[in-house]
């Protein structure tokens, strides 16, 4: 039994995959000698050498292109994009090439690669180093989208992501890198597409991902203690494939749903979930599905501004209380983009 941080579990997860399979290699900017800008890949170069841990130039297209080409021959690259915001400079390779080549080739080509990237806010880095971009990749057919919320999920989901025959984008949350967990067994595997329940409850279903799943769990503890509300917290773990069955099962029991997203309001993944729930569980709903998101603005930098932009534990608590106790479904943090 050992305490492991989310950060340390990333390098351990990569190392475990590389020990198991000679086909796995790792490529990224400042990942080898420097151990990564978030120190999440420390020790890999020392263990595996330059042939398998490659420090790349600042060439995001060339990094992902090389990973894709290598994957096309059956290797299993793990490629790092330092900040998820930088996916924008190589989006052609992600969305047009990696995602579509299997389909366009009528299944002649598999692309078994993992793109891991530091995602999300909380570090006061401003609008270009803090975004939550899971929904960008969710809307492209052909990409699997994973976002672990704790060290054990990093270990288990990375194992599956590397073994997966399809491309996986692995969003690591920057504000979780210091998150600690007692871990008994490090060499574990968690199937992609199975949500995890972080808190049991029958009054409302709260659905989150990554940092927002952890905040939802904290909110559930407060809701229970202070408001006598039992919330079920579902950590989706992956958006594609999506564990709709777990969502449905809970919604049938609770009849109330809140999604908690770190992305801006428009076209966030919660909108898709909300639509699925109204299609699949309309008769079970006791009120509208509501969403907590960041407002529809780029992320500001100053402490007070960023802290009031990204959904907080208090905001989640308030939204749930409003819904269940006051029958108030109006969302207070996401209005300005729409006509009133």
């Amino acid at each position: 039994m050992a305490q492991l941080t989310y950060r340390a579990s990333v390098s351990l997860a990569i190392a475990q995959s590389m020990r198991k399979d000679q086909k796995v290699f790792f490529i990224g900017e400042d990942v080898g000698a420097a151990g990564g800008v978030f120190k999440a890949t420390v020790g890999l170069l020392e263990e595996f050498g330059k042939e398998r841990v490659m420090d790349a130039p600042i060439s995001e297209q060339a990094i992902l292109g090389a990973a894709m080409g290598a994957a096309m021959t059956g290797l299993r690259p793990i490629a790092e994009i330092m900040f998820s915001d930088f996916l924008a400079v190589c989006w052609d390779i992600v969305a047009n090439q990696i995602a579509k080549t299997r389909y366009m080739s009528d299944g002649q080509i598999n692309i078994p690669l993992v793109i891991r990237t530091a995602n999300g806010g909380g570090s006061k880095f401003g609008a270009q180093h803090s975004q939550s971009l899971e929904n960008w990749s969710m809307m492209i057919p052909g990409l699997k989208v994973v976002a672990p919320s704790c060290p054990s999920d990093v270990l288990g989901l990375m194992d599956s992501a590397v073994k997966d025959p399809d491309p996986v984008i692995f969003y690591e949350h920057k504000s979780l890198y210091a998150f600690k967990e007692e871990i008994e067994q490090t060499d574990i595997s968690i199937p992609i597409g199975e949500a995890n329940t972080l808190h049991e409850g029958k009054d409302i279903t709260i659905i989150g991902l990554a940092l927002m799943a952890q905040r939802a769990k904290e909110a559930a503890l407060i809701l229970k203690d202070k408001h006598d509300i039992n919330a079920k917290v579902i950590d989706l773990r992956s958006l594609v494939p999506l564990d709709l069955q777990t969502i449905k099962k809970s919604v049938i029991e609770t009849g109330h749903v809140l999604t908690v997203e770190e992305n801006p309001r428009l076209c966030g993944w919660g909108a898709e979930i909300s639509s699925l729930i109204s299609e699949h569980c309309f008769k079970n709903l006791k009120g509208p599905v509501t969403r907590v998101t960041t407002p529809h603005v780029p992320l500001p930098s100053a402490d007070i501004l960023e802290d009031n932009t990204i959904p907080s534990v208090e905001l989640i608590v308030n939204e749930v209380v409003k819904k269940l106790k006051e029958n108030n479904y109006g969302n207070n943090n996401a209005i300005p983009w729409r006509n009133s």
Binding site: A56, G65, A66, G69, A71, D106, P241
Partner: protein, 334 residues
Amino acid sequence: MVDKLNDDIGEKKRLQLWEMMLKLRLVEKKAYDLFLQNLIKGTSHLALGQEAIAGAFGVALKQGDYTFCTYRGHAHTLARGSSIEGVLGELMGRQCGLMKGKGGSMHLTDVDKGVMGSYAIIGAHLTIANGTALASKYNKTNEVSVCFFGDGTTNIGAFHEALNMAKIWNLPIVFVCENNLYMEYTPIHEVTAVEHPAADRASAYDLDRVIVDGNDADEMLRIAEKAISKAREGKGPSLIEAKTYRHSGHSRADPGKYRPDEEVKDWMENKDPIKNYRAKLLDFNINEKIISEIEEKIKDQVEKATEISMASPIPEIKEIYTDVWANGGSEWHN
């Protein structure tokens, strides 16, 4: 007269190259006829006039080597030995097509033949070709990767990222710029800081400056063999700029009116790689009967393949839902 004694290429290889180029030409012409009959929908970019480049590499490469080409890739695909009905069938959206209609003209792929795809977003495939080259280096095998692209492609960032990476990692790859003097409709010199869009950039990546007459099939073959051997011996990447010209417009929709008549006439009449190669074969005293027999054989092959493609059924609608994922399906939730 030609020096037969010092002929480094020889009759056998020349006839192979002749047969290859002729096939590329006649299939493209057939593709053009099939558009006119409205049997091919969508867009298509013909490589008529550029056959010597794909043809020479087709002869020079070995089985197991990887090639990457652009949307103008029918010729490069055929040059690796893909079947004519596989190509024409794909253009016509038939089940016998290389990808059963899932990809179309711009995405021909035939992995068994080393055709690792045809790419329609300018520049992307240069970076992806580095990946197969990296795999050969990683696995310590000796395949070579070859990546074809146009002059216009030298102005996108991916070109520069890819060349730098290939050089720093000493990858077994050959980059082939087919400089047909125009990007889409704009003359390349109007939008490029240097005269030779690829070759004049080579020094920035510590590569040799290589310019070749891409319509001289023998010269193309020599350059291709040299660059391929270099890569295979672990001596790193090459960048070749092959000067050529497309006989037709950029794509199906383009009559090519922006090009001066005199220029087009000169390239069609005096610099046609196929016409000139036929004359060269005769110069080398190759029996005209053999040359014509090959012509008849290819014509026959193209006709037969056309019949097969036209008789091939259209895809089943359920194919829409297959092969997004490696499990063969397209499901995204349980």
